[in-house]
């Protein structure tokens, strides 16, 4: 078969494609367990973080990070209490309540002697969906935590909603009757927990406004659940 003949070309392309695709399928199979575990770790970590429960920031499958965390912990640089595995803390402290009106599961946990409720949300950001978890106290008067699971915002700008200074603003923030407001501030985080206002990300006003809309929408969901007696 001559190298440039049509039949050789077709045969060659087919065999080479098949070979590489099979290798990829094999590689995918090998790692699918870990990928699924990573996914679950990310979701559960977000729920725990939003609730205010401490757990290891290291996935069981992330050996490199586990090694460095162990080293830091041994050197007494890092608090040992944060080394408990996410699954352990989750299974022990969090119970799942199915709420009929919601697309997402409702989670309940007792943290610092108080009952808290967490629920995942998905809302429209500037560039795609923003997924996260919002936690409130039992009478929906204060936000207890916000964690962002996934987003498609601009890295370095809207993407900064995942940074600690931004999400920490929401912890223990009072919820005014009209909902919280995200507005332009110092860009370093609003420390006043009673004004119901949060600092937007500098240079990312649209993404910040999206967060405001999404959080307020989730607060409404919690409020209607509360009124229906769903939060006990």
């Amino acid at each position: 078969m001559k190298k440039d003949s049509t039949s050789y070309t077709v045969w060659f392309t087919f065999v080479v494609s098949l070979f590489f695709v099979l290798l990829l399928a094999f590689a995918n199979e090998l790692t699918s367990g870990r990928v699924a575990a990573n996914q679950r770790f990310a979701e559960r970590s977000a729920i725990l973080d939003s609730l205010g429960l401490k757990a290891s920031g290291v996935a069981a499958t992330d050996e490199a990070a586990a090694l460095s965390a162990a080293a830091l912990s041994a050197a007494a640089v890092q608090d040992a209490s944060t080394s408990e595995a996410v699954d352990t803390v989750f299974d022990r402290s969090v119970s799942v309540i199915t709420a009929d009106s919601a697309r997402f599961l409702l989670y309940k946990a007792v943290v610092d002697g108080e009952v808290r409720y967490a629920m995942g949300f998905s809302g429209a950001g500037l560039w795609g969906a923003i997924l996260g978890v919002l936690t409130v106290n039992a009478d929906v008067s204060r936000i207890r935590g916000l964690s962002i699971v996934a987003h498609n915002e601009t890295p370095g700008l809207g993407g900064r909603i995942t940074e600690a200074w931004f999400t920490d603003q929401f912890r223990d923030e009072q919820i005014p009757p009209a909902g919280i407001r995200v507005r332009q501030g110092s860009g370093a985080g609003d420390t006043n927990k009673d004004n119901g206002e949060l600092d937007a990300v500098t240079g990312a006003s649209l993404t910040s406004k999206s967060i405001e809309k999404i959080v307020n929408a989730q607060i409404s969901v919690f409020r209607s659940l509360f009124e229906q007696g769903g939060l006990q």
Partner: protein
């Protein structure tokens, strides 16, 4: 590529020297610009990305060089793309399984390694007419030349834009971050200025050596 070196070791050294300096893929050949601009606002991402590109280029070049005699002319480009895609997907799978945080922050830019002109460029220019081992080396060193340049840009952008390096806060407390460094335009300016400085340096180095290149 210059150098009439005959022995294998000399050729390898010439390849290293060219890909790192005289014929650097980014500031001389002007390849791989897209990713240079996109991921360099953060040193950690830049590092992982450039390691990925280096490995993908090295393995693709080596594989294509080995397959050289068997590839029909009509599907040369498609085969190159297929092999490159294969290695990039492997890198993506490895990241998602073992370094999920990095995978998330690199996002679609991992897939874009496939269209990184450096990989295609080396496949066309080098792998077609060299041995697999040398092609691997050429791919690896091209990637390292790319890495060196990008890390320099990223260091400036991350430090001025976030006050940190590799995520470690290094700037003094009163430091106001230069938000522009995190945004698109700064990348263009920084790359242009770096190109200017490095190319001028090369010109004066060449002028200094009477009788042309080494």
């Amino acid at each position: 590529m210059n150098g009439a070196a005959s022995s294998g070791k000399n050729k390898a050294w010439a390849v290293l020297r060219d890909n790192l300096w005289w014929n650097n893929p980014v500031f001389i050949q002007v390849l791989g610009i897209c990713s240079t601009l996109a991921v360099t606002n953060n040193l950690t991402n830049t590092f992982i990305m450039t390691v990925g590109v280096s490995l993908a280029t090295a393995f693709s070049s080596a594989t294509l060089s080995a397959m050289n005699k068997a590839i029909p002319a009509k599907v040369r480009m498609i085969t190159q793309v297929l092999v490159i895609s294969f290695y990039v997907i492997i890198i993506d799978i490895v990241l998602r399984a073992y370094l999920p945080a990095v995978s998330k922050s690199l996002g679609p830019y991992v897939g874009l390694i496939i269209t990184n002109c450096i990989i295609m460029g080396r496949a066309e220019a080098f792998a077609r007419s060299n041995t697999p081992l040398l092609s691997f080396w050429d791919g690896l060193t091209s990637g390292i030349g790319y890495m060196a340049f990008l890390m320099g840009i990223a260091a400036v952008r991350e430090f001025l834009g976030f006050g940190s390096l590799f995520g470690f806060k290094l700037a003094p407390p009163g430091f106001t971050p230069w938000t522009i460094m995190v945004m698109a335009p700064s990348a263009f300016f920084l790359v242009a200025m770096a190109m200017w400085a490095l190319k001028s340096l090369q010109e004066s180095m060449t002028a200094h050596k009477k009788g042309g290149k080494k």
